[in-house]
């Protein structure tokens, strides 16, 4: 027994020295001498000479001049990789995709071929009928309680708005408390569903949206106001609009554009996705550089095709583009986006 204990300790000691000290140090020497770029995280410098990012780690881009990476369940946090972990059967997945699609989807045929669907979502919303029943907002809040609550929780201004509403709608709140004895002191998010129910009666065809006003002194103030147009409506109600218009032909959006990756840090998009974004990117750079859109588009398309590569030289999949790599070239070539 004693002998076995001493042998166990020797084995552990030998193994730790060899596997945890000698072996990593040997690889570290190889890495830092032969492959220093990769060994330190494939960091590339920006135009100002400071590290701008890693070629292997996605970073967010919001400006229309840049190609945008896939959406990230990790908010592009390089120190907390994460997937969405949403099952196909989870409505949250469908809702997230619908929310992204609403403002960008275009008709695929018919008289409005190629035009954005968004304006029609707004006018449909203003008419306020869904599947032959009145009040879209009411039906939305009833069917998706958690989304209604998430709206209230998403922003302090939203919660504030509901609190103000509650103070002027005493009877409604009292009725809620009577129906839900477990919640004697409801928080704003508890009241989300009844709030939307009342709101839809008082403001048919309107959605509480953020509005910015500039007063005579030039000072901007933000507030929540009932609105009949805006991205909130386009994204939130696209799924319901789609149910009412199930047979309308729409242009498909590349799959990788609306799905989150496994790590949340996927640095690539498909070439197909990049081509889908090309019109927007080229048009915006053309404005910034005061050039003709067509020639800028040709230049950028050539860049995409030059940088595109396929996994295992095309044996395993379709062509991809590294988002940061391409955007870095655009930034160096065309300057600072306005």
């Amino acid at each position: 027994m004693l002998k076995s204990i001493s042998k166990s300790l020797w084995l552990l000691l030998f193994a730790v020295v060899i596997c945890c000290i000698v072996y990593p140090l040997a690889l570290w020497v190889v890495g830092q001498t032969v492959f220093p770029f990769q060994a330190n995280g494939s960091i590339v410098k920006g135009p100002d000479g400071t590290p701008a990012g890693s070629l292997l780690i996605a970073q967010p881009f919001t400006k229309d001049e840049y190609f945008q990476p896939r959406p990230s369940a990790a908010s592009y946090n390089g120190s907390a990789s994460s997937s969405s972990a949403l099952a196909a059967s989870n409505y949250a997945l469908r809702n997230r995709v619908a929310t992204t699609l609403g403002p960008i989807v275009r008709y695929g045929s018919g008289p409005k071929d190629g035009q954005l669907v968004a304006p029609d979502i707004e006018s449909w919303f203003q008419q306020d009928r869904f599947q032959d029943n009145p009040s879209i907002l009411l039906q939305w809040a009833d069917a998706h309680n958690s989304l209604a609550q998430a709206w209230v929780a998403a922003d302090t201004m939203h919660a504030q708005y509901v609190t103000t509403w509650a103070s002027t709608h005493g009877p409604v709140v009292e009725q809620f408390i009577k129906a839900n004895p477990a919640i004697p002191q409801p928080q704003p998010s508890d009241l989300a569903v009844v709030f939307f129910e009342t709101f839809s009666k008082e403001h048919p065809g309107r959605f509480p949206s953020l509005a910015t006003h500039t007063d005579s002194a030039g000072k901007a103030t933000a507030s929540i106001e009932p609105a009949g147009t805006g991205t909130d409506i386009q994204s939130t109600f696209f799924d319901m609009w789609r149910l009412d218009h199930a047979n309308v032909n729409l242009q498909n959006v590349p799959g990788d554009m609306v799905t989150t990756s496994g790590s949340g840090l996927d640095p690539h998009i498909t070439l197909q996705n990049a081509m889908y974004q090309l019109d927007r990117v080229a048009a915006k750079w053309a404005v910034d550089t005061k050039r003709e859109t067509g020639s800028v588009r040709i230049e950028i398309e050539a860049l995409l095709r030059e940088k595109a590569f396929a996994p295992l030289n095309g044996l395993a999949g379709e062509k991809l583009v590294n988002v940061l790599e391409v955007n870095l070239v655009l930034r160096n070539r065309y300057g600072v986006p306005s």
Binding site: S4, L11, L12, F14, A15, V16, I18, C19, Y23, P24, L27, W28, G31, V34, Q38, A39, G41, S42, T50, A52, L55, Q59, P60, Y66, R70, N77, S79, A80, S81, S83, S84, A85, L86, A87, A88, S89, N90, Y91, R94, V97, L101, G108, A143, H144, S146, H245, N252, V253, T259, S261, G262, S263, L265, H268, Q272, P311, L312, A316, R331, P337
Partner: protein, 607 residues
Amino acid sequence: MDIWLLPVAILATTTVLAFPLSRYLSLIMDGKYLAPRMLRWFEERLNSGPQDWKQYVGSMLLFNTVLFLFGFAVLALQPWMPLNGDAKGMLAPSTIFHSVVSFMTNTDLQHYSGDQHLSNFSQIFFGLSNFFLSASIGFCGLVAIIRAFRSDAHLGNFFVDMWRVVVYMFLPISFVLGVAFLQQGSPMTFESSVQVSTLEHGVMGTTNKGDAKQQSIVVGPLAAFVPMKQLGTNGGGFYGMNSAHPFENPTALTNFLSCVAMMLFPFGLVLMFGRMLKRLRHSYVIFTVMMTLMIATVIWAVYYDTLKPNPGLTAHGPAQTFEVPSATAPGGRRTVTLPSVAPMPVDQHLGNLEGKEMRFGTSAGATFAALTVDVTDGAVNAEHDSLNPIAALSPMVGMWLNCIFGGKGVGMINMLLYIIIGIFVAGMMVGRTPEYLGKKIGGREAKLALIALLVHPLMILFPTGIFAATDWGIKAESNPGAHGFSQIAYQFSSASANNGSAFDGLGVTYGFANNPAPAPEAVPWDLAAALVIIVSRFLPIIAPIAMAAYLGAKKSAPYGVGTLRDDTVTFGFLLLGTVVIIGALLFLPVAALGPIAEHLGPIPFGG
């Protein structure tokens, strides 16, 4: 075309490599390989003399205890150890317990995220040390069984076996792979993180002072960590998202190498079994049965996940109304409507892309999902929670059968149990005394085999039932309906199969000990999963060693006309049937409640 090329290439390459490897393995384990004099000094230092099966098992358990204490100390002392550039604190005690048990048993189920919770010191001295040692322990278990079957005078020496496996096999291959990973882009540094200012200013948000936030990128000794993670079928990720993370798996080539690396030893071990017993044809039959099952799981996963769109985004309908019995509704019946669902305008010709990375290739996520469970690796390169519901059946079946090549030695051991049971049943049916390797299988051997075999379903089904019925499970589920149940079943399957992959949405992470808002049921999950892991690891190694020792001690029966030959096609079908029927009978109800129910809809489920 390219959809099937990748899995075929992976399977073919590994099979070809497994032949020379198995020859080298049997040379090493039979002591015929003479190491350089310097290394032999270590062997002599470790040799405690020839051991019988009880001594061998005793040494194995003792060494595991030492390994447990060492791992626990490393994690518990994390805040005070070097290489901790981001000043990471101490994990919650229950999580440390779970992690140490999980890593020392080759399971590597993680209730923490390496990038958020571990320092480089812990990654190396806890993670890497366990990668090498835990893989070797299962391996030695198999070697001991082979020697017992051969009726060797003794079973060799555990400590010498461990040394040979770690240093003569794992180290050199791991180093070569490490250089390849480096060249492809895996970092190899002892820094903790790199700060970069993004190309577009301020996109990561702003600090309280109004400055643009930087993107903080966790780096570390990846090139040393990842090869051994795969070679040892450990699968514990350096990052939370494991081999989906671009540093842990930078290109399609490293993904290919990862797949080959995790399958290489499980393939080689089956052939080594035949070589050491001088019954190569017998191990070809076993190999073929395993390969058949593996191909089936790969085809299933790729067909339903890569060649089919994500059903959450497609059209469903037309609307259907059902009347179902209900205890609460008036009249005892209630109508339920499956609504019609319109398609989302999304191009899904690349299959289900939710939770997939682009750079590995079209079918790489589904292929990896099937392979990683078959060989009980547990690394993932895609989010298994987001696999198409029916495709997720493939990894689950892989864990339930737990003998499709399986981990280091343990998968082959499980297959031996199926062989014993299969022969026993076949013997009963024809009314002959069952024999294996010329030894008569008696009641004691059959009992030991059954105990080892039944541990697995018991350790999956009981805790799954308990957790699914209580807050422990219900509060941890992150997806509604049948999928929530699948998450629980998957977690315990993964724990019991010593796998380590997970449906990541399940709320099991406590985090640091001072975390003010841990997952509400993290502690019961830590403890339950750790207990399942321990029981399901050690019983199925110890019982078969005992069984093999009893069997080996018997006199060899002469080979006769009535002997069931173990190197024929007939035997292959007998074995395949035993595996499939036992597996199907045990787990069909779980499959029906989980992935199959989810697949049948409604999708989406609820609001």
